[in-house]
């Protein structure tokens, strides 16, 4: 069975479409805004888990093995790492990540913010979503994915530490703190 990679940029394009970016005045249906926000979050999530696997396992290509390992990267672990990268949360993780580059901090901040709003978009019937914010989240996700590419290309050491700790390190740090 061939592996069909879910590309973060495709998710970003879908998020733009759903939130009505560059579509003029008026707002899309609420369901589109909410699914657009959720899709923007998943674009960043997939970007991060892909980078974690390439950093740690170093597959030559996105194989079934790489896809299987990517399932080990969890939303909770990336949130804990992102909290540490933005200066809060588990002290052992903060020590392991230091120093954190501005680019890594910005990606981590986007992940945390998008995860918060994604929970509202997916589960909160009281979510007062508006198009301006939804487009803002789509742009924040694209900004994070673009910066991820830039940091990978420049072999940013802070970002490499962040990615390397994305596979299992959070559980170890919490167990030993």
């Amino acid at each position: 069975m061939s592996v069909r990679f879910l590309h973060p940029n495709d998710l970003l394009d879908l998020a733009d479409e759903l939130v009505g970016k560059n579509a003029g005045q008026g707002r899309p249906k609420v369901v589109r805004l909410r699914r657009g926000i959720s899709t923007a979050y998943y674009a960043v999530f997939h970007e991060l888990l892909t980078r974690v696997v390439y950093e740690v396992v170093r597959p030559a290509d996105w194989t079934a093995q790489a896809a299987a390992v990517s399932r080990w990267v969890t939303h909770q672990d990336l949130a804990a790492l992102s909290k540490a990268a933005t200066g809060s949360g588990n002290q052992a993780l903060r020590d392991a990540l230091a120093p954190v580059s501005p680019g890594t901090e910005r990606i981590a901040q986007a992940f945390l913010d998008l995860q918060d709003v994604r929970h509202r978009a997916d589960y909160d019937d009281l979510f007062d979503v508006d198009k301006i914010a939804a487009v803002g989240w789509a742009e924040a996700a694209r900004d994070a994915v673009d910066r991820s590419w830039d940091l990978v290309r420049s072999r940013d050491l802070s970002y490499r530490r962040f990615l390397a700790l994305g596979l299992g390190a959070v559980k170890i740090a919490k167990a030993r703190s």
Binding site: K21, G26, V31, R120, D130, K131, I132, D143
Partner: protein, 114 residues
């Protein structure tokens, strides 16, 4: 389920959040409420931003506001599970639902075209 929050820490946080700005983007309001779900309880902080001149807030300014808001929240509330949300002031044209292919014109419970 939501519940009002009334403590000096939350009041301090709301006052500090309300002062935030970055370039042309500024906070015009903030609200905080306690959310109780079957398996968790957390604070929901909603930050209200001014209307942008474009389609949304400038990316760098939105980031800076979010960065400051999260840092302030951690500083004031510590490890309290707090989630942040952002919205803008209501604007009349935002209530006009854009025509979407396949829309029937019927209204559903959310006020959207069905």
């Amino acid at each position: 389920m939501t519940a009002p929050v009334d403590s000096s820490r939350e009041a301090q946080l709301l006052a500090a959040i309300s002062e935030l700005s970055a370039g042309t983007t500024r906070v015009v309001g903030a609200e905080i409420e306690r959310r109780r779900e079957p398996d968790e309880s957390y604070l929901l902080l909603t930050v209200v931003l001014n209307q942008p001149s474009g389609e949304t807030w400038p990316s760098d300014e939105f980031y800076e506001i979010r960065r400051q808001a999260r840092a302030l929240t951690g500083h004031v509330l510590g490890d309290e599970d707090t989630r942040l949300s952002y919205r803008t002031q209501a604007r009349e044209e935002d209530d006009v639902v854009a025509p979407i292919e396949g829309a029937s014109g019927n209204k559903n419970a959310s006020g959207d075209d069905a």
